[in-house]
């Protein structure tokens, strides 16, 4: 336990600046999105939708005139997920490839500590920080929405979190595995971005949309206010596989 505590502390120190930036970005979004809705609603009220097909105008009206639909689509379907994807890649870049590239891997692994332990701690601390920031900023969103006088039940809104967090787990595990395998951190970072982009390809087609991890992570796998249990379960299973693969890469890595 002493070894784990020591490594966790080191990872926290390493990620503190990035964690602070992520906290500021997520909290700023959570604090500003609910009040912005009032301005959007007023702008929409005066908008001429006569040139738009009736069903589209109705759909748009229903999204914008309902704060719940606005909150769901803006938070899970846009802001939170985009920020999470960016920080998932950035957090995971503090992985084994960086330790190897800057020479600290030699320092670390010449001590009595297993590569698998370091890999687990690195992945756990980075994911844990993002997990806490995600949950915290989502709760902040609910609090700010209520302070602004909107009706947003906590249970209803939090039901988007499982798919979002499971998607983050999958992409974090994939990015960490690439960091454990690659000889150079920027190459791993580029590969991670590529993997995320590829995972969004099925979402471009109606028939395959439901199989896209990104689509599920964006909260589109289930109706707003319901938990996408299947999506979350599959994403978590993918994350577990990616983690196991990364652990194997880490164990066989030379420094």
């Amino acid at each position: 336990m002493k070894v784990i505590r020591t490594l966790v502390r080191k990872e926290f120190v390493e990620l503190r600046i990035l964690g602070l930036i992520a906290a500021v970005v997520l909290c700023a979004q959570a604090a500003f999105l609910p009040p912005v809705y009032g301005h959007l609603g007023r702008a929409f009220d005066g908008m001429d939708l006569s040139g738009m097909p009736g069903h589209l105008a109705e759909a748009l009206r229903s999204v914008l005139m309902s704060f719940r639909a606005y909150a769901w689509s803006q938070w899970y379907g846009k802001n939170l997920t985009q920020v999470l994807l960016v920080f998932t890649v950035l957090f995971s870049s503090a992985g084994l490839a960086r330790e190897a590239a800057r020479g600290t891997g030699e320092f670390l692994f010449s001590r009595p500590v297993a590569r698998e332990t370091v890999y687990a701690v690195k992945t756990g601390v980075g994911f844990g920080l993002l997990f806490l920031l995600t949950v915290g900023s989502t709760l902040l969103f609910i609090v700010v929405a209520r302070l602004a006088g909107h009706d947003l039940p906590a249970g209803w809104f939090l039901s988007g979190l499982p798919a979002s967090l499971a998607g983050m787990a999958l992409f974090y595990a994939l990015a960490a595995a690439l960091q454990a395998r690659a000889c150079e951190p920027f190459r791993a970072l580029g590969l991670s971005v590529g993997v995320i982009a590829l995972s969004g390809l099925p979402a471009l087609f109606e028939a395959t949309r439901a199989y896209s991890p990104l689509y599920r992570m964006f909260g589109s796998g289930a109706a707003p206010g319901t938990v996408d249990w299947w999506g979350a379960a599959v994403l978590l299973a993918g994350a577990a596989l990616a983690y196991a693969l990364g652990r194997r890469f880490a164990a066989g890595r030379e420094f």
Binding site: K2, V3, R5, T6, L7, R9, K10, V13, E14, R102, G103, T104, E106, F107, F109, S110, R111, P112, V113, A114, A251, E254, F255
Partner: protein, 298 residues
């Protein structure tokens, strides 16, 4: 005699390059052992493999009685080995104290009193981040961290690179004082031949991934000698074929022979040649090193 390291036929490839090509290495317990070799000879690869940072492609290796090639016993081994390298980076965002805390948490046998003495001796700024330390200070911190767990075996890769001569001496005196007091073993890879000559009792010279000479330093100096020979006019003796001769070079009117038997073979063979002048000289470690790796000193 017990051995801290027994390695036989170590091979390590980096792609198509053979960094180690059958290295044999025997390091007796309690010795201060110098690992010498030109750039790219395989010294760093050997140390990293012994420590489990890299895996050998072939060969057998036992370090402190533990099979170093067995990943399951790697932690047990690393808990008893201290390692410092001039290339090894510290964490730039951690302070001196943070590094000590980090290592303290990783070793079961951490000696904080010893570390404190090292900090006092080198007067390291404990709250300064490693990224802001000079190269010399980073080397000193690396040595303190390597000594902290009171290792049975201390492996050092170019430990004094970048240090001025005064600091180098202070560094080595701390090192030898601490390790010798406990009967520990030191394996030191270095380019600083005078430093190795002053501190080590045994050496191995490696070249192209193989040990080309090894043994006690005194024994090497006793056997590796230079013999100056002037032959009588018209003599057609093939000096390179004489017993013990490693290399032959022209030197003024005669020849400079490097021998591996203390000059006994040459003296006996040329003792029967009338008019031949034979003069045996001692070699420095640098002379021996240059001869063994196939390069002549100017």
């Amino acid at each position: 005699m017990k051995y801290a390291i027994e390695a036989k036929g170590l091979v390590k490839r980096h792609g198509s390059v053979r960094a180690l090509a059958g290295l044999d290495l025997i390091v007796p317990e309690g010795s201060v052992f110098g690992l010498l070799g030109p750039n790219g000879a395989g010294k760093t690869t050997a140390l990293k493999g012994l420590l489990g940072l890299a895996r050998f492609d072939a060969g057998t290796v036992s370090v402190l009685g533990v099979d170093a090639a067995d990943p399951r016993r790697s932690l047990e081994l690393r808990a008893r080995v201290g390692y410092a390298s001039s290339d090894m980076s510290l964490f730039g965002f951690l302070t001196v104290d943070d590094h000590i805390e980090l290592c303290r948490g990783l070793y079961p046998s951490w000696d904080q009193g010893l570390v404190q003495r090292g900090l006092d001796l080198f007067a390291l700024p404990r709250r300064r981040k490693a990224g802001a330390l000079s190269r010399g200070m980073r080397g000193q911190l690396g040595l303190i961290l390597a000594l902290g767990p009171r290792p049975a075996l201390l492996m050092l890769d170019e430990p004094t690179a970048g240090l001025d001569p005064l600091m180098r001496r202070a560094f080595l005196s701390v090192l030898l004082g601490e390790v010798a007091a406990r009967g520990g073993t030191v394996l030191m890879a270095s380019h600083q031949l005078t430093e190795v000559e002053r501190t080590c009792d045994r050496v191995a010279i490696i070249h192209r991934g193989r040990a080309v000479a090894s043994g006690g330093l005194d024994e090497l100096k006793l056997t590796r000698k230079q013999v100056r020979v002037v032959l009588p006019e018209g003599s057609d003796i093939n000096l390179a074929a004489l017993p013990g001769v490693v290399s032959v070079a022209r030197a003024g009117h005669g020849f400079a022979l490097h021998v591996s038997d203390g000059g006994i073979g040459v003296a006996e063979a040329l003792g029967r040649v009338s008019g031949a002048i034979v003069d045996t000289e001692a070699l420095t470690l640098e002379d021996i090193f240059c001869t063994e790796v196939g390069r002549e000193t100017p």
